[in-house]
Symmetry: D2
Subunit: 140 residues, 4 copies
């Protein structure tokens, strides 16, 4: 099993179709049913106390899931998030990139389910764990 897109093709697709996302999120690596996506939080993403806000972490997880799905099923599909569930467990380390490791657990006919672990770069404990479900529209 291969990914439908190479890493370079995926990055080019994101830069062309989602330029605002390409500014924030970086696809580090992909493999079948898997992706690693990272972001460097800047002042826009911080809450008082220099903490990255929960929705920013959710956004990284959601985006990582989307990129893993694009790589796996190809860019033609216009998948949308139908359900997300996230547990926030530790504070991000200040000044470090956030790394999301995405594992697709199921890519079915109409639904795809993925598991995302978010960590600070170089740290072991998870900042957050999310499960995301995307709905895959019917082929025309």
């Amino acid at each position: 099993m291969n990914t439908k897109l190479t890493l370079e093709e995926l990055r080019a697709f994101i830069a062309r179709e989602f330029p605002q996302m390409a500014d924030v999120y970086r696809v580090d690596a992909i493999a079948p049913m898997w992706a690693r996506v990272s972001m460097m939080p800047d002042e826009r993403h911080l809450r008082p106390g220099a903490t990255v806000s929960g929705p920013v972490i959710f956004g990284l997880a959601d985006c990582g899931m989307y990129f893993a799905l694009l790589a796996t099923i190809g860019p033609e599909a216009l998948a949308v998030t139908t359900n997300g569930s996230i547990d926030f467990m530790r504070k991000p380390l200040p000044g470090r990139a956030l790394i999301a490791e995405v594992t697709l657990l199921k890519v079915g006919r109409v639904l795809a389910v993925g598991d995302v672990a978010v960590r600070s770069e170089g740290a072991d404990g998870m900042i957050a764990r999310a499960t995301l479900t995307y709905s895959i529209p019917p082929k025309k």
Copy 2:
């Protein structure tokens, strides 16, 4: 039962402590265990096709929950999100404000749980439903 803060006190607190949030989110009304919070999506919040992205809606729900909790338990507590679960059900109507109605279901000693319904202004069907859990730190 009253809220610990009046609407004016809550707005002043948010403007002082979270100026970036005060730019985006508006507390429309509060009552014990309840709040209505809205935002007008702008180009920063849109995905291609002029759709508001899922993480933006999650951010509104999370923020609404936080404001409802501030109003109910007072501003001294530094509550943080521990868990969130969200279902995305309909697309927001273009050009309309997003309205989050927050109902606190439980405010316990260590955990608070709230339910958030997000709609487009003037529309009936929910865009999204979220449940959020906040951890309340021990009193010092």
Copy 3:
């Protein structure tokens, strides 16, 4: 808008197709996009300390969602749970029936989402809140 089945038809369908469920769960009332389902916990459902276990409450919520969906879309559809999220907030009152109020938030082409509030009979505070997603198989 009407339900596709009357309360009597729904009860007869459940008794015929799911006799074990009919022994445990009772449909009290239905309306379009809504149902109230109850159960009387017995010794099979209790944990030490005479508490009803979490999975029993999840089972009531899941079953209530299924019955509300049956009433709304009719009995031919073989819907299955794809996602569930539940918050446990209070202990059930001993010796009281558990009442689940189900509100369908969306019944789409492939997914149905419902919200379930579980209370002890005669009590105000929620024991648990659940959101359930069912997948609706394609019509043949």
Copy 4:
């Protein structure tokens, strides 16, 4: 880091304190922050079509999480489930045991979060993935 209980101590504790659970669930193996728990579905757990029902799978996940927590923090703590989220992805294989692998992601002062993967014995694809949060009561 060791578990607070050996496998034999954990099994003895469960048999003494939760005899109904000991009849259904078997702890196969434990390690720090980890446990594998299994059950053999019988006719009580089946829905028409010989499918194991969602709440039975949720019950296995919840119970597996509880046993992993008992092994890790010791039996004195009376932890209770506060939140659960589960995705059902594949049907169990008929006639096979269900295996739950539990990984504790965080054991904090007041909350413990765990991740549970449920598979049919001998099969690769996950039947379900759950995340469970337990509240740990304050030490007296």
